[in-house]
Amino acid sequence: MLRIDYLSIGGLPPLSFEVAPGQCLVIEGPSGSGKTRLLRAIADLDPAEGYVFLEGVERSEMPASLWRQRVRFVSAEPAWWAATPRAHFPAAAKLDRLLAALGLEHMNLDQPVAELSTGERQRLALVRALADDPPVLLLDEPTSALAATNAALASEFIKFQILAGRIVILVSHDAVQIERLASARLHLADLEWPHAPDSVAA
């Protein structure tokens, strides 16, 4: 269980919600409404007031690197720290399965990352995120750069991760994908302050 308690993202009322294993919460909202900031705060990549618990353990009670080995943020524009894709993956037997599930089984993992297409990089980022089996996935528009068939493949891949019992929070604009994956939806533009902001401060 991933529990968010009074998490403060600038401009939004404090957020509290829970996502259980095998569930997918879809975050919606216009650009700049705080979707990415929310995911980054849950992964503890930006400072944010409030609490995030995974299986009852707050993020601050655990070394930051351990937290992010469990709570995995996948950026909409994944960045790469080494020259080739292979250098980003641990040597795991499941790597081939992950690649195949996303239609990347024929990919040459030793070619420079810079020569790959945006879509290939986005799918590789999903492989990278899953390679060490994190229980929580925070996906920021994971199929935004993919052509229709590959997007469908990636959606099925995410569906499979949900069925396998992972906790998924997904930011998406794709209505079909949301319909297919969402267990619950949260629209950031619809949020209302529970009290007047100044009475919260009091």
Binding site: A43, D44, L45, D46, P47, R59, S60, A64, S65, L66, R68, Q69, R72, F73, V74, S75, E77, P78, A79, W80, W81, H88, R128, A129, D132, P134
Partner: protein
Amino acid sequence: MSSLPLANTDLLWAALLIALNGAISLTFGLRLELSLALITLRMVVQVAALGVVLRFVFLQSSPLWTAAVALLMLLIAGYELAERQERRFRGWWAYGLGNTTLLFASGLATLYAVTVVIAPNPWYAPRYLLPILGMVLGSTLTSVSLVLQTLAEGIERERGAIEARIAQGGTRFEAFAPLMRRAMRTAMTPLLNIMSVAGMVTLPGMMTGQILAGADPVEAARYQIVLMFILAGAAGLGAFATAVGGVLMISDRRHRVRLDRLAPLASSWRPF
């Protein structure tokens, strides 16, 4: 050993060459003549004052006076270091980090030099300690400032890659390792260049000085070699400490990248 004394008229003859630079600037519209004049004046005052102060301190040969001058040198070097940075840390750390590592590395190398390597009697004899500290500071200043600059530029360009590695569960030192490595390499390069051409293309400054002052060239060479080792040690130590300290400051305890700790870009060129 003795050197030919220089009369004031000799200084004036040499100043003619600076005047020539001014004339070039005027002729070709380089618009450097004002800066040139001010900087020349500044240099003359600085160096002359240094001579007078050093003569006084050498005559005293008291640890207190030596310490006072050493401290002043450290402060000026620290100020110069902070001024050299284009991207600085916010607040107190703008001066804190560079100064701490500069002090640490040059202090350690200088103390090692005067207590173990050259070991004059007493070890704090200003005639040895102050010139060594000066040269060590110069070399460490360059290396520390190159590390700070490489880190600050690199963090903005490579933020995505660094954060990707952190998001993947890496520690900040794992994520920053490539940038730290590059910063330290950049910092060591000037010294490697100087060492590789020393004695071939350039006659090293200290050795030149000693030879002009009448010392035996072989003895001067021994001094120069020892000094190169000390400078290299100080520069490397300073680079390492600054790289580690820089990463600790540019990220927080939760291993988050904190670009908000960098002050906005300030570009200023000042003659003073």
